[in-house]
């Protein structure tokens, strides 16, 4: 079992000097994050949201403008990267091109002044773990992308750090390998139980890997939650839009129920979910919402995921099909309702009726998939 450590970011801030050198802007703006021991946490967001800067501050490559980083409750702001008990897997792998696989993986252990025997045992065990046995004398340029990725992972893991950091490690791999490698990473992380912080802009990677996802935008945190929470109960328009695709329909709250249900997940104690009755398309619908967020009379947006809308010859809401695209595993539609455009997806279209542009259809909206957020 690896060492496990918790990480706390308190008011962590990174101020950059603008290009001309006379101004500043906040790349990371007073964020607070708690990462429990052994958790796999993803920093997710579009480029420029501050996720990589945050990770590089944890690793020690970026200076900290304000706030602090605690590792197991101990402030580590002042430690240079070589003194921090964290190891990073780089986006470009950053393998040492002049060392073979063995020396790459053993590099950090030499810094720890371990004897040759120990290093050899540890390196070989690690290569075994990541599936590179027999490749220890290959040079990095003789390896495929996926193999280089494994060396980078092994090199970080062999240090037995308290925290493992990943900077978009899969972005240089092709789509199939990416999916395979992310499963591998998750498996290895689960096996040794190491605390991990993972940066990505790919939401499916974040969903597949994480106990907890932190969605960042413009240096701020938009939402922290389990993959289920951020998808089903997005806190903001940005989150709903960034994770998957979503229709936003304006609505008005008629009433709010007082009882909420508390979610529990590996992310820790989660949010409390309530229900509200909203008026949308001139009809009343029951929608989920974050408990305490809404009051009756509020103008809200209802988030409807495309897969929650079914097209049929009869149903709740009348609509007109404006586009219909065959995608193989599904049929994509765009329909018009009361001047609103909605996107819908019907899976396995070969077994269903397919509508064409101009057709009049009825929408069947899955009631428990609606989620209302403040406008």
């Amino acid at each position: 079992m690896a060492k496990q450590a918790s990480i706390q970011l308190k008011n962590l801030t990174k101020e950059y000097v603008t290009h001309e050198g006379t101004g500043t802007f906040l790349a990371v703006d007073h964020i607070n994050v708690d990462i429990a021991s052994g958790q796999f946490v993803t920093l997710l967001g579009p480029s420029g949201c501050g996720k990589t800067t945050t990770l590089r501050m944890i690793a020690g490559f970026e200076g900290i403008s304000d706030g602090e980083i605690l590792l197991d409750g101990v402030r580590i702001n002042e430690l240079t990267p070589d003194k921090r008990d964290s190891s990073m897997v780089f986006q470009s792998y950053a393998l040492f091109p002049h060392y073979d696989v063995f020396d790459n993986v053993g590099y950090g252990l030499v810094n720890k002044k371990m004897d040759k025997k120990t290093i050899e045992t540890k390196v070989m065990n690690m290569l075994d773990l990541v599936g590179l046995k027999g490749m220890e004398h290959r040079m990095p340029n003789q390896l495929s992308g996926g193999q280089q990725q494994r060396v980078a992972l092994a090199r970080a893991l062999v240090m037995e750090p308290a925290v493992l950091l990943f900077d978009e490690p899969l972005s240089n791999l092709d789509a199939k390998l990416r999916v395979y490698m992310r499963t591998e990473i998750r498996k290895i992380q689960q096996r040794i139980g190491i605390t991990s912080v993972y940066v990505t802009h790919d939401q499916s990677e974040a969903m597949a890997l994480s106990d907890k996802v932190i969605i960042m935008n413009g240096g701020h945190i938009e939402q922290v939650g389990s993959p289920t929470e951020i998808y089903q109960y997005p806190a903001t328009h940005f989150v709903a839009d960034f994770i998957g695709s979503a229709n936003f329909v304006p609505a008005k709250v008629k009433s709010v129920s007082s009882q909420g249900k508390k979610l529990e997940s590996k992310a820790g104690p989660g949010m409390e979910i309530g229900t509200a009755v909203v008026e949308m398309f001139g009809q009343e619908f029951t929608s989920k919402c974050i408990q305490g967020e809404l009051a009756s009379g509020d103008e809200v947006e209802v988030v409807i995921r495309p897969e929650a809308i079914e097209l049929a010859d009869d149903g709740d809401v009348k609509a007109e099909v404006t586009s219909s695209t065959y995608m193989g595993q599904m049929q994509d539609y765009v329909v018009q309702v009361d001047g609103h455009e909605l996107v819908t997806q019907t899976y396995n279209p070969s077994s269903k009726k397919v509508y064409n542009p101009g057709d009049t259809v009825y929408l069947r909206i899955q009631r428990d998939s609606l989620h209302a957020i403040k406008k």
Binding site: V17, G60, G63, T80, S87, F90, A94, P97, H98, K112
Partner: protein
């Protein structure tokens, strides 16, 4: 005020962050100090001296003299005229070579690259010496073959010839790099849109390298202005600023006058350097990506190939003949009179010059690793670290490319003649001059190879527990190894062949080979001069081989094996 305030506080923040690492902080401060003491301070002393009269009071007399004293004024006019003519000629010849090597289907182009290296590895007087032996009053061509008597190669025409031959390779290498990195599909597009070969050349190729042409001109111009050896050897009565500095300061013991001339020379060089560095280099359209998109289809039109290629091979033949003449002449009894074989010149050279040979070699051997390592450290700091003083390091180290050697030489005399740093007459001052003169190229090579290395490789090493010096020695240095050894070779050659700065600094204790060669050339002792030059070339080649062997023993270059 507000803006300046935030600027300063931002700079301080960044510096404090970088200097969290004590090793980086110590080295950076050390570099700033060293460059200040050995580059900036001497130049300031030259400027100060030029404004001081014999009693130590402020005076503009020296500047008045430049304009009123006809010989100095003439030197200024001569220098600029020579530089413009040589700039145009060398750039034109260099461009033809570059175009030939990048665009024409000709065999044997590798010969051009080999030839372009010759001026770099040769003693400073080689070309002048050969030209005198070929075209002088007792020249092989002019006197022995054509039977002309009283031909005078000394002066402007000799200098134009010698400098053009010496400096066109600079323009060639610079322009060849640029022409090669033009994406061939841009030229193909022009052809596809109906341009003739000529219109493609004039409307696409030339405009794309125009900044490079301007830059090549300026570099040659700077070289010509700074040139000391050739005007001394073949200038005759045609004096230039660089020689004037020496003749006034050392010949006439007028250090103040020499300093004033040196300031003028310094101004010209710095203005041109800044122009080249910050104006022209910014205008470049071509970005060198390192990825060759596609092979260029070479032009095989027999007329173009015949004309341009023929010219280039003719020039190459002349250049090779010029350099081969030196070792040959070292075995000829009396050039122009008695062409029989002798080894007497070597006997004499070894008798008179043994100390100089030993001193020059030893001092160069000491200076070489210092320059090589400092160059890599400075390149690393400039490319990878941000701190106050980084701009200073970058500028002052590159400044020493632009500053003519004679200016550095007179600056060193003025600065290190008295406490706090009394170094004149010691080996230290010669080594310092060698290092400072050799540094810039090492830095440039280091910088460009560092820029090709992903910084996260170094970050990975730090992340895995290496401190700054271990990151540098285990990761950075091995990856820029070839640049490092290239820098070593260059530093050694540069030290062995330097003359313009060190001629001010030689003393009874230490004499240098190049200074002896100059004495022999001035005395028309061509045989002995050739013997010394040949010995110098041999030492340089032995050193190159030794350094290459060291590189090979350290394993093959990882960047090359990355196919």
């Amino acid at each position: 005020m507000g803006k300046l305030g935030t600027y300063i506080s931002n700079q301080i923040k960044t510096t404090r962050n970088t200097f969290r690492d004590p090793i980086i902080a110590t080295v950076a401060v050390g570099m700033v100090l060293a460059l200040f003491v050995f580059v900036v301070w001497p130049l300031l002393m030259v400027v100060k001296q030029s404004f001081t009269d014999l009693d130590g009071n402020f005076s503009l007399q020296a500047y008045v003299n430049i304009v009123t004293m006809s010989e100095t004024y003439q030197a200024l006019v001569n220098t600029l005229m020579l530089a413009i003519i040589v700039g145009v000629l060398a750039t034109s010849v260099g461009f033809l070579f570059a175009y030939c090597s990048s665009h024409l289907a000709i065999k044997g182009k590798k010969l051009f690259n080999l030839m372009a290296l010759l001026p770099m590895v040769s003693p400073p007087f080689s070309v002048a010496l050969s030209i005198i032996m070929l075209f002088g009053s007792r020249g092989l061509v002019t006197y022995s073959l054509l039977g002309w008597s009283n031909t005078n190669i000394y002066g402007l025409k000799g200098l134009i010839f010698v400098q053009t031959i010496s400096y066109f390779p600079i323009a060639f290498l610079l322009l060849a790099g640029m022409l090669q990195s033009i994406d061939p599909s841009i030229e193909d597009a022009a052809r596809d849109l109906g341009s003739s070969k000529w219109r493609t050349f004039s409307s696409v190729t030339i405009p794309l390298v125009r900044p490079g042409i301007a830059n090549a001109f300026l570099l040659v111009f700077i070289k010509s202005v700074a040139d000391f050896a050739n005007p001394m050897a073949i200038g005759g009565n045609f004096s230039t600023l660089a020689t004037q500095v020496y003749l006034q300061a050392i010949g006439s013991y007028d250090v103040q006058g020499g300093a004033a001339v040196a300031v003028v020379l310094l101004d010209i060089a710095i203005i041109l350097f800044i122009l080249s560095k910050y104006w022209i280099e910014k205008k470049t359209y071509i970005t060198v990506t390192g990825k060759a998109s596609r092979e260029r289809t070479m032009i095989d039109d027999p007329q173009i190939v015949g004309l341009v290629g023929g010219f280039c091979f003719l020039v190459t033949a002349i250049v090779l003949a010029i350099y081969i003449l030196i070792p040959i002449a070292s075995f000829i009894k009396m050039w122009g009179v008695d062409y029989s074989f002798t080894t007497a010149h070597y006997k004499y050279a070894l008798e008179v010059g043994m100390d100089a040979i030993k001193d020059t070699t030893l001092l160069s051997i000491i200076a070489t690793p210092i320059a090589g390592i400092l160059g890599m450290i400075i390149a690393y700091l400039v490319v990878r670290k941000k701190f106050i003083g980084r701009g200073f390091i970058n500028f002052s180290s590159l400044l020493s490319i632009a500053v003519p050697g004679t200016v550095i030489g007179i600056g060193y005399i003025l600065t290190f003649n008295e406490p706090p740093l009394q170094l004149t007459g010691t080996a230290a001052i010669l080594i310092a001059a060698f290092v400072i003169r050799a540094l810039p190229i090492g830095i440039r090579a280091g910088e460009s190879s560092l820029q090709q290395i992903d910084p996260s490789i170094e970050e990975a090493a730090a992340d895995l527990g290496s401190n700054a010096s271990r990151v540098f020695t285990t990761v950075t240095l091995p990856l820029i190894k070839s640049a490092f050894f290239g820098g070593l070779i260059y530093s050694f050659i540069r030290s062995m062949t330097s003359i313009s700065a060190v001629i001010f600094l030689v003393s009874a204790n230490y004499s240098l080979l190049t200074v002896l060669i100059l004495d022999q050339v001035e005395d028309n002792q061509f045989g002995v001069a050739s013997a010394f030059s040949t010995i110098l070339i041999l030492i340089v080649y032995v050193a190159i081989i030794v350094i290459k062997l060291m590189l090979n023993r350290l394993g093959s270059n990882p960047q090359k094996s990355q196919a």
